[in-house]
């Protein structure tokens, strides 16, 4: 099995003495869709910055498709496409030029670069704006421009640092679709995001980083398995004045027509519905109180916070 990315004991101390990464290690397999999650300031962008040689590392090892960046930096970069968190194109250049120029840096001739640029501009909804200066794009369009730019040379590994920040819901969905297709066609993708439902729906493997340390690195399924309690919101037909007693389940009345119920993993939902039936409570609809990954994430990050403070 080929590894798209290997990070070993990566350590980063910034010029001002701030220790942003503390010997982190993780791997991303070829073909994977990998989420790197963590709260603000955890060190995600620092990690991805080092991988894409925008940030100098203090120590540790990084290999892209087996090519060590210290031994053959140019060889390592050939397979890499990067969408950084902050906009970093020349705001005065026009959209198409930005794409064609980027392709030129990979030795792609102008004619072919121009065709590829057209393809991605159409695909990512930038076609209308192709002759405009980059500064005239909306925030979401600027993000898509950075995605198109990163794909100009058809990289095998695509790194996306919060690609959907500030992108509206409809567009975000279409971006997910686009990224899924890309991944299905063989591109390995590493993504950071603060929208956990996005990570849950797209990614197969995950690492959670918190204050410069990896606190979890596993498959998405395995992680979701760890969730022991789920909380559901039930909209009920008839108004209640107090929460009904449902043996074994924690129940709270939120509003006269809304119940909140905690369900342990081993309990399942059938028993709950039987009890509701017995109590003549008619349920109109039901949903998760919050995203499952979100709950886990918060509990994991809280836990390390408590450990550190202890």
């Amino acid at each position: 099995m080929t590894l798209a990315l290997t990070v070993e004991n990566l350590h980063k101390v910034y010029g001002n003495g701030f220790e942003a990464l503390k010997e982190i290690s993780f791997e991303v397999k070829q073909g994977d869709f990998f989420a790197l999650l963590g709260p603000n300031g955890a060190g995600k962008s620092t990690t991805l910055g080092i991988v894409s040689s925008l940030v100098n590392k203090t120590s540790g090892k990084v290999s892209i498709f087996g090519v060590d960046i210290d031994k053959d930096l140019i060889g390592a970069k050939l397979n890499l496409g990067v969408v950084p968190q902050e906009f970093n194109f020349n705001m005065f250049e026009n959209v198409k030029d930005i794409l064609v120029t980027q392709a030129g840096y990979y030795g792609i001739e102008r004619k072919r670069a121009s065709e590829r640029a057209d393809y991605y501009m159409k695909k990512l909804g930038l076609w209308e704006k192709r002759h405009g200066a980059a500064r005239m794009l909306s925030g979401g369009m600027k993000r898509r421009l950075m995605i198109a730019r990163a794909l100009m040379h058809d990289p095998k590994l695509l790194i996306l640092d919060e690609p959907t920040a500030g992108v509206d819901i409809e567009l975000r969905r279409s971006m997910w679709e686009f990224l899924r297709e890309l991944n299905a066609a063989g591109t390995t993708i590493i993504l950071t995001t603060h929208y956990l439902e996005e990570a849950e729906s797209l990614c197969r493997n995950i690492a959670i980083i918190d204050r410069g340390k990896i606190i979890k690195n596993t498959s998405m399924n395995a992680l979701l398995q760890q969730l022991t309690t789920e909380t559901f919101i039930l909209d009920i037909e008839d108004a209640l004045t107090q929460a009904p007693h449902l043996e074994g389940y924690g129940v709270r009345l939120i509003a006269e027509n809304v119940l909140e119920v905690d369900v342990e993993k081993e309990q399942g939902l059938n028993g709950l519905f039987e009890l509701l039936q017995d109590n003549n409570i008619l349920v109109r609809s039901m949903r998760n109180k919050s995203n499952r990954l979100e709950e886990l994430f918060v509990s994991l990050v809280d836990k390390t916070l408590n450990q550190d403070n202890a």
């Binding site: 970069k77 970093n88 020349n90 840096y105």
Partner: protein, 257 residues
Amino acid sequence: MNSHDLFIAFWTILRREIRRFTRIWAQTLLPPAITMTLYFIIFGNLIGSRIGEMGGFDYMEYIVPGLIMMSVITNSYSNVVSSFYSTKFQRSIEELLVSPVPNWIILSGFVLGGVARGLGVGLIVTLLSLFFTDLQVQHLFVTVAIVFLTAVLFALGGFINAVFANSFDDISIIPTFVLTPLTYLGGVFYSIQLLPEFWQGVSQLNPILYMVNTFRYGILGVSDINVGFAFMMILLFIGGLFSYALYLLKHGKGIRS
């Protein structure tokens, strides 16, 4: 990256650099044309006719090579310093940093962009000077070689300045406080033979003197200094600055945290 890819990468950078300064020609190409025309009129015609001869030539003839050189120096320097600094400032330098373009190609692309503007302006000024005097080039190879190397040297200087610059102010300090005085004192307007011996010696420490005089030698056939020595020195400086700029890029000075 094979040599074909490298060439495309190099040409991509150079092309972008040339497009940048031609797009904003009113800020880059027009001002030197106006300033130099004023120099020709005021120093060459009005004052020059009172001065008489300099180094055995008409004053106008004498200063034209110096003024051409002065515009080449300022323009190749300022092109790279402002272009590379704004690339850094806008962070679009990251487009190059993530790409597989080797540092020496990045450096060459920016430097040759500066050379293109320096020589472009040099050519414009030369053409303008033809309205005021006849230019007969005595040593074509020396003339072309020295103007090219000078442009390379100052483009490199501009690059290094931009690497260290942290604000737009920083990119005008060196041109104002170092380049301009050195150029004015570098024999653009006078022959150092006119100076007392002590100041002749001091002037010889000024590298710009060698370039201006070598260029003047190429055109007029006279020089205050040894031309062979000038070439050797400028090549040495270019080698030194090129290596230093590469070293700065390799360590990401000013561009990578």
